[in-house]
């Protein structure tokens, strides 16, 4: 598993990201800035390619199940057929439709990825904002907690928890992944908040008597919204990979088809020995494309938000 934490270094370093935003504010109003961002977004090859790949697979996940009558666990199809006009991605050794498994699996990946990333973002923001803004003992305690959870290898915890809990639904899988993948996001957001908290406009808001929650939500969060979005994308990609790993180990929901489960059954049914490549190639291509698309999109967005990075 390569989970999101290893990708923490792909997020822009705090100082650069903030200067980029500030510069935009001075030159143009909020409206102009939005058009400026759109202007650069459509001309950024990385963003366009990454987003197209992700959207294409999202479309396949949404539309795919409508194109086939087969359901992922249904038996009774010819055994181990290569792709044909009738079975677009062939059939598995025990006679299931690979295309149906693939498109339903894609759905699972998107659902788990989005939900887990949302949960991790919320926890990461809560811990990062409060720690970075309040400082002092609260920050010390939160940082300690973050660092502890950060050092513990996520997969080890997930393996032992899901072994006892036997995960039954995509939702509980996503919750487990979300609960373990927030620390690097919290650390990054804390660093950002920390440098924003000493800015004049934040001090002004504080002096005018606004409470912590209000300052964070009204002053700090909007000023790092692009950064938060980038964090969400990386968490999304990491969650898709982690979910695939859990499913591959047979620790995901067994009643829901997923790309990891496809690889699990392919390996345990000797698809490699039998040369049934159509069974194990699609799930890996799907995961790699979604995660790779998200990462490339992330770099593209970074360049759009960050004028200094554009001159590459």
């Amino acid at each position: 598993m390569s989970s999101a934490e290893s990708r923490a270094d792909l997020v822009a370093t705090p100082e650069v990201a903030l200067t980029g935003q500030g510069a935009g504010d001075v030159e143009l109003g909020p409206r102009g800035k939005r058009f400026e961002a759109l202007h650069f977004a459509l001309r950024n090859t990385k963003l366009v390619i990454g987003a197209s790949v992700v959207l294409a697979f999202l479309a396949l996940a949404l539309v795919g199940p409508l194109l086939t009558d087969a359901t992922p666990f249904e038996f009774g199809y010819p055994l181990g057929q290569p792709p044909s006009s009738e079975y677009w991605l062939g059939t598995t050794a025990p006679g299931q439709d690979v295309f149906a498994q693939f498109v339903y699996g894609l759905r699972s990946s998107f659902v788990v990825g989005a939900l887990a990333a949302a949960i991790a973002s919320v926890i990461g923001m809560a811990v990062g904002f409060v720690g970075g803004y309040r400082g002092g003992v609260i920050d010390d305690v939160l940082s300690m907690l973050t660092n502890i959870v950060l050092v513990i290898p996520t997969l080890a915890v997930l393996i032992i928890v899901s072994a006892y809990l036997s995960v039954g639904s995509l939702r509980s899988e996503a919750i487990l992944i979300g609960l373990t993948s927030w620390p690097w996001a919290a650390r990054a957001i804390r660093a950002q908040t920390f440098s924003l908290a000493s800015r004049d406009f934040v001090s002004l808001a504080r002096l005018s008597g606004q409470g912590t929650a209000r300052v964070i939500l009204r002053e700090i969060a909007p000023n790092m919204s692009s950064y938060l979005f980038l964090t969400f994308i990386l968490l999304f990609g990491g969650a898709v990979l982690t979910a695939a790993t859990l499913d591959f180990l047979g620790l995901g929901p067994s009643q829901v088809m997923s790309l990891g489960l496809m690889m699990n059954t392919a390996v345990s049914n000797a698809a490699l020995q039998l040369g049934m490549w159509w069974w194990f190639v699609p799930p890996g291509v799907g995961i790699t494309a979604i995660v790779g698309g998200l990462y490339v999109m992330n770099v593209g967005l970074d360049e759009v938000f960050n004028p200094r990075l554009r001159r590459t």
Binding site: L10, I148, A156, I159, L249, G275, G284, I287
Partner: protein, 328 residues
């Protein structure tokens, strides 16, 4: 420096305590009677299950008060007694783990070190060099987005089954016994290469991308512009940029350890490599909870030790941690 390392050690001790407590708590926190769950899975008949219930209650020491259970757990841990294995009858969890550790380390250590070194080099070269950037970067992105087990599956399928270049599974030929002979060494290396390559490639992609981005940031920094305007040769500017970019990469190394270890687990499973990952799969399939809990602590301990090694390296690389100015 001592303060920096002392703080790190404190963090790791706390983390270890936290991990042990989780390890102890999870079976006790789970909904329902864990023992009924266990026996239900074994599907024994009723008298047998009653005996089993008594056996497990005693083994888990569930008939004692909670604080006593917790103390006993620690005592067992300190004695190195992690309980018997259910999967491999007659072996203790400790023995099984000791047998598996060398194989996992043989994959992990070279893969981590070499991918870090090579990834940093290639990433630094790619930064601000259009041609290399446009060719190497897409490859790096595909590599880092690949699930470890899928790359492993593809390598087994293409290289082992189609091209028949490397053996398919295991750590050495079944006809051999581990020994210090050339024949064994050759067999070991040929079995080792593909799982190693899997770990190396995925991790390599991540390092290359990280280094490339960091170098670009550094080359935009004031000191780099200043050096350049003084007429310093490009090579010198890049050298300074590299020196600064290595630091975040190194803290990234500590963060990435957990991910690579996870990758090693699933890679071993695909290759049937007899390390920790294969042991975990066996433990999962047989609901061998003692073994699973032991392996959990083993992985945590390993990652903590590796983190500490990275910290020491960091002190060597970053002078700020030595002079008392806090680094990261």
């Amino acid at each position: 420096m001592t303060r920096y390392l002392a703080r790190k050690i404190l963090l790791y001790l706390l983390t270890f305590w936290f991990a042990v407590t989780i390890d102890w708590m999870i079976p006790r926190l789970m909904p329902g009677d864990p023992i009924d769950g266990l026996i239900g899975r074994i599907q024994a008949d009723s008298t047998a299950s009653q005996n089993l219930h008594g056996y497990f209650t005693e083994s888990f020491e569930l008939d004692q008060p909670l604080w006593q259970q917790y103390l006993n757990f620690w005592q067992g841990l300190i004695r190195g007694d992690l309980g018997p294995s259910i999967t491999y009858v007659g072996s203790t969890v400790g023995e099984l783990m000791w047998a598996a550790i060398p194989y996992t380390l043989a994959l992990l250590v070279p893969a981590i070190v070499l991918s870090y070194v090579a990834g940093n080099r290639v990433g630094a070269m790619a930064a601000r060099r259009k041609v290399l950037d446009n060719t190497a970067l897409p490859v790096a992105y595909v590599l880092t987005a690949m699930p470890y087990m899928w790359l492993a599956i593809m390598l087994v399928y293409v290289v082992s089954f189609r091209w028949e270049l490397f053996p398919v599974s295991g750590a050495y030929d079944f006809s051999l016994q581990p020994a210090w002979t050339w024949e064994f060494a050759r067999s070991f290396l040929s079995h080792w290469f593909l799982p190693f390559l899997t770990l190396f490639l995925v991790a390599f992609g991540g390092w290359a991308i990280g280094m490339r981005n960091l170098i670009i940031y550094e080359l935009e920094a004031d000191y780099a512009n200043y050096l350049q305007s003084l007429g310093a040769p490009n090579k010198l500017v890049r050298k300074y940029a590299y020196g600064n970019a290595v630091l975040p990469q190194m803290s990234g190394l500590a963060l990435a350890l957990g991910a690579v270890v996870g990758g090693a687990l699933v890679t071993e499973i695909v290759f049937g490599y007899p390390g920790i990952g294969t042991l975990i799969l066996a433990a999962l399939q047989n609901r061998d909870y003692f073994l699973l809990q032991g392996l959990f602590l083993l992985i945590i301990t390993g990652v903590l030790i590796a983190n500490f090694i990275v910290d020491i390296l960091y002190v060597i690389v970053d002078p700020r941690t030595r002079t008392g100015i806090q680094g990261t």
